[in-house]
């Protein structure tokens, strides 16, 4: 994940380059380091460097990394001719390379010839069955073809070996949520929280899934995770504030009649409501009335 300072730095560089201030190479390096997906800009500025022979030779051995980066960006923007040219140059320089083989596979994927791409990837995997990127590309291909169950199967097999790869867990969680398999999604989010406990995004997503699952116990746990999200984000996350209000009223509804569980945090709901009102007053004052009526209906 990209931290805030890195993001501001990236945006600053982008503005600088957009307004003709130079520094395109630093921008491209930063994009590559942070693995951000800004394909149009990468394509534009990368091509401008590559087409200028003076600038190209100034890069030295980094030139080939730039070719690879521009090829991938071109595929993302569907400029397949640019991709083909870049791959041709790379293939001439590195004839037996696995990285170039991977780029070829990605080009087949971009063109939509799934069977050939699958063949290319399997032959690459035969040489090195532990190549993480190729495994992930196969999952992406299955997902792009709409074959979600195969994507899940491939991803599970991948995670059996590489179980410390949190990006893969995140992808699996999102796929499960899209298929409404919430229990499995909850498991994946737990893995994510375990590996990175201070990222509020995972707490929030986990709380959402638990709230959707329903049931008194899950609602209570969800409330706690919304609270932890509020704590981790300093109260600025609107979704968590809404989550608290909804959870508390849902718990009240479910446990109507049974004796109320000892309120660990009785004021949390009212505090969250007040915080929401304040936030809306600042940012979207015209919707404040909608908010107050919705909150009033919750506090049954």
């Amino acid at each position: 994940m990209v931290s805030k300072t890195e993001e501001t730095q990236l945006n600053r560089l982008e503005n600088q380059v957009d307004n003709g201030g130079g520094g395109a190479w630093e921008y491209l390096c930063l994009v590559r380091k942070l693995k951000v997906r800004r394909s149009e800009k990468v394509l534009k500025y990368g091509l401008s460097i590559l087409n200028d022979p003076k600038k190209r030779s100034a890069l030295g051995p980094e030139e080939w990394t730039l070719y690879e980066q521009v090829a991938i960006a071109a595929m993302d923007c569907q400029c397949l001719d640019v991709t083909k040219d870049c791959i041709k140059v790379l293939q001439k320089k590195f004839p037996e390379s696995k990285r170039v083989g991977r780029l070829n596979g990605m080009l087949l994927e971009a063109k939509g010839s799934w069977a050939e791409a699958e063949k290319a990837y399997s032959s690459l995997l035969e040489d090195n069955s532990l190549d993480q990127v190729i495994h992930k590309r196969r999952v992406a291909m299955a997902k792009a073809q709409g074959n979600i169950s195969e994507a899940i199967e491939l991803l599970n097999k991948y995670l059996e070996i590489f179980m410390a790869d949190h990006d893969a867990w995140r992808e699996l969680a999102e796929i499960y949520v899209s298929l409404q398999m919430y229990k499995q999604a909850a498991f994946c989010y737990e893995e994510l929280i375990l590996s990175q406990p201070t990222v509020p995004l995972y707490h929030l997503a986990y709380a959402d899934v638990l709230y959707t699952l329903g049931g008194l116990e899950n609602l209570q746990i969800a409330k706690k995770y919304y609270a932890s999200t509020i704590d981790l984000t300093g109260g600025k996350n609107t979704r968590a504030l809404f989550g608290i209000c909804l959870c508390t009223s849902a718990i009240a509804q479910v446990s109507k009649g049974r004796n109320k569980e000892d309120k660990e945090s009785p004021e949390l709901q009212s505090l969250a409501a007040t915080a929401l009102e304040k936030d809306y007053k600042q940012r979207a004052a015209d919707k404040l009335s909608l908010l107050t009526s919705a909150l009033r209906s919750l506090k049954i």
Binding site: I161, I230, G235
Partner: protein, 246 residues
């Protein structure tokens, strides 16, 4: 016995400096040869998987207090249960890590190549030094030594009355052998194949023993007491919101 021998400066010009220069050059040559001969070793899938299992188990131990108790318990059982827990290694397998290292042909070849690249230049240089540069006093060590060192340092010199501080060129060779490591790391960067002494130390205690670390992780996991931190967060969230509203 304590007279000062005056050594010819020609010794310095024709023995000490050429010997050092030759050793530096041989070191650089070895570095490049080892780079050429380096076979890309395919990572063993089992070892990769074990490495990842250990990372995951470590994460579980570190952040155990962030997930609900039920999930933690089910994960702990998954990792350490007797039959097919990931971290559980039956006693018999634990010992054969070393045997495995030797029987795996690729690893054995790699080790042999590394050893050879270390032993052959050393032997050759040593023989060359002995052949050409023996039979005379090469240098004087600046501090006094006991008689015990005579056999080690004065090998070619057959006079028993010469002060032990006067050494033969063989000792200069050994001095260079161990001392040029620092120079090499300056010239060649950190990763160079001339770290003979380091490798010799590594050979005695075998490096990556996966089963032991798995066992260690399992013990660590068994010890962990789960104390769910989330209820605390509710109070903290209250405090945060109160501050925010003010």
């Amino acid at each position: 016995m304590a007279e000062d021998l005056v050594l010819d400066t020609a010794i310095r010009d024709w023995v000490l400096i050429p010997l050092s220069v030759v050793m530096v050059l041989i070191g650089i040559l070895r570095y490049f040869v080892s780079k050429l001969m380096q076979s890309s070793q395919l990572p063993d899938p089992k070892i990769v998987k074990e490495g990842q299992v250990i990372v995951r188990a470590r994460n579980l131990r570190a952040a155990a207090n962030f997930i609900p108790p039920k999930s933690f318990r089910s994960r702990r059982v998954y990792f350490s249960n007797e039959e097919n827990g990931l971290l559980f290694v039956p006693k018999g397998q634990a010992q054969n890590a070393q045997a495995q290292m030797f029987s795996d042909p690729n690893m054995a070849m790699d080790m042999m190549k590394k050893n050879l690249s270390m032993i052959i230049p050393q032997t050759l240089t040593f023989a060359w030094v002995n052949f050409f540069f023996s039979g005379f006093v090469a240098a004087k060590i600046p501090f006094p030594l006991t008689q015990r060192f005579r056999s080690m340092l004065q090998n070619g010199i057959d006079l028993s009355t010469v002060d032990v501080s006067y050494v033969s060129s063989r000792s200069w060779y050994f001095l260079n052998l161990f001392g040029l490591r620092g120079l090499f790391s300056l010239i060649l960067g950190e990763e160079n194949a001339t770290d003979d002494t380091q490798r010799m130390m590594q050979m005695s205690g075998f490096g990556f023993d996966p089963s032991k670390s798995l066992g260690a992780e399992k013990d660590g996991l068994d010890i962990v007491q789960h104390e769910w931190a989330l209820p605390k967060f509710e109070h903290r969230a209250e405090a945060v919101l109160k501050k925010l509203i003010k």
